[in-house]
């Protein structure tokens, strides 16, 4: 009798724990894949609310030009750390094949930044909710809440989260007064210029590009310029197979 009770108890404890863990850890998140062809965009069931997105027309992106990156890094006081193992980047240029896989015919260096995923794995990794998805689709970081465990950095499949291994203020030559600086020991990444959006401005990389290669807008609004471009062009996302649903698109 005693024996049966114990076995029963252990079984119930186990089932209860599994159910609790399952519910709590959000294993059951929504579906993953997002087609990016024009036909697929037209067929997307309308999602409500705003989802900021970016479209980079790489045909217009000039070889060797880094104006978008310079503008971004200046606007947000991103430190220019010299040591290659400690660099902090919100935006950078990377080989097209590396970035977009074999579908990309170009091996030119293309701009890359945080994808502001609909299913951000960084947010699922953060123990303190310091990195989170806002209702407008922007994945934001609370620098004052971040404990510096680097779980988000580890879990970003695009490698777009940077950690301040050293004091970032020491590497800032000409700080901008419009955006705070960070401290050593916290992570940072592109914020889709949420600081400029509230002031009615466009993201700084969009403004800085002399070729107008970068478009920005609400992906959920069928009449937005970016949506029209998406529906009329073949576009690629980075690693769509991972089901993170990036909000940054590329025209090759």
């Amino acid at each position: 009798m005693m024996h049966n009770d114990r076995r029963e108890f252990i079984r119930k404890a186990g089932i209860g724990m599994l159910a609790g863990m399952g519910a709590a850890s959000g294993i059951l998140t929504g579906g993953g894949f997002e087609r990016t062809t024009s036909a697929a965009w037209a067929a997307v069931p309308g999602e409500h609310g705003r989802r900021w997105g970016m479209l980079i027309d790489t045909r217009r992106c000039r070889e060797g030009c880094t104006l978008c990156i310079e503008s971004c890094h200046h606007t947000h006081n991103v430190p220019a750390v010299k040591s290659p193992d400690e660099t902090v980047e919100w935006m950078h240029k990377e080989d097209g094949r590396e970035l977009l896989g074999s579908l990309c015919s170009s091996t030119a260096a293309l701009p890359a930044l945080c994808n502001h995923c609909v299913e951000p794995s960084c947010a699922r990794a953060c123990p303190t909710d310091s990195i989170f998805r806002r209702t407008d689709g922007i994945v934001a970081i609370d620098y004052h809440r971040c404990v510096g465990c680097r779980s988000c950095m580890q879990s970003c499949p695009y490698g777009e989260v940077s950690f301040n291994w050293s004091d970032p203020r020491a590497s800032l030559k000409n700080p901008s007064l419009d955006y705070p600086t960070r401290q050593r020991g916290v992570v940072e990444k592109c914020n889709f210029c949420s600081d400029r959006l509230v002031r009615g401005k466009k993201p700084s990389c969009v403004e800085a590009c002399p070729e107008g290669a970068i478009s920005f807008g609400n992906l959920n609004d069928p009449s937005s310029e970016i949506r029209k471009l998406l529906e009329s062009s073949e576009t690629l996302q980075r690693k769509p197979e991972l089901g993170t649903r990036p909000s940054v698109f590329y025209i090759i």
Binding site: M21, S121, A125
Partner: protein
Amino acid sequence: MIEQALKGHRSYLIWSFALLALAAGAAYASALQSADGFVHTGMGNNAIWGLYHAQLPFLASIAAASLAMLVPGTLQKHSFLAPLAPLAAFLGAIASAMSLLFIAADLGMQRRILTLFLNPSPGAPASWQAPLLLLFLALSLAVGWAQVGAMRKGVKQAVWIRSAVMIAIPAGLALPVISAFRLAVVPGSELWTSALLAPRLMVSGVAASAGMMLLMAVTAEKLAGFKAGEEALERLAAVAAWAGLGSLALTGLEAGTAMLGNVTAKTTALSLLYGNSPFALASWFSLLAGALSTGFLLMPSLRRSSIAAASFGALLALSVWLQSGLTLILAGQLRNGSVAVGYAPALPEILLTTGVWAGAVLIITVLLKITASAQLEREGL
């Protein structure tokens, strides 16, 4: 009871002071790190996590596995593991305390450590880790201490111990699951997103903790007169052997599925572990040491000799530490295609890690000493 910690043979005192010196080294390294951040470590953009995080899955599995010895020893009326129950409780407590220390050491913003407890995000597996570790630490420490006290006084264990153990069961079992889920949130990392990771941690943890307890019990028996009983030791060796076999089987199943299915992502992950990787040597050593020690422990004639059982138990524990501790984290974070830039821990990092381990060994030594003196005192009455 505590006064027994300060008395003892000269060798006991020398051993304790040596461990204390190593722990002091950790304090120094920790101060260095608080002042200058991670610049004194080998971590960087190519090795986001290093030695500190590499201890966490192993320690979580040890904490959970202590339940395998603690539960029969406290909830069952007649168990051959009863004499080892306090030892198991202390092992669980120490593993969770070490985990908390390594979590703290790995934070870039150490002064915000309370955020882990005050502002958790329940949807993220990582946020369950520190609070559950703290709960498990408190429960197992209380249970172990109360049991040694009861043993010394020669009375039955207190009734509340049963309730404490029952709360500790789900908390403890959740620890390796959370450790595995913390890694499972990394998309595209085949070594970490495997569903076998949590069961592997649990089974290998039982093997490693049984191995470590064999080493501890036999050493304490030879040096301090601690009595675990011959039967308890032999059963413990059998537990280590069968759990070791289970762990090897799970490793084999994982590799077999990857290779038979010829799943590129999975075979690439395996080659990062065993093939073209700076960690291949450690992985192969871990596999061979695990197979060897499990094989020997499976032989009844060998495991009846307490010295042989303790040595192979220690080898098994080392193999599991390399597998679910070091190589899992360090090789798992290597990105496919990118140059496998080896991670080499820096001196302060090594000092801190060995210091935390030395502190743990010191506490185990003292606790074993207290337990052995409690036993001797009992017999003297």
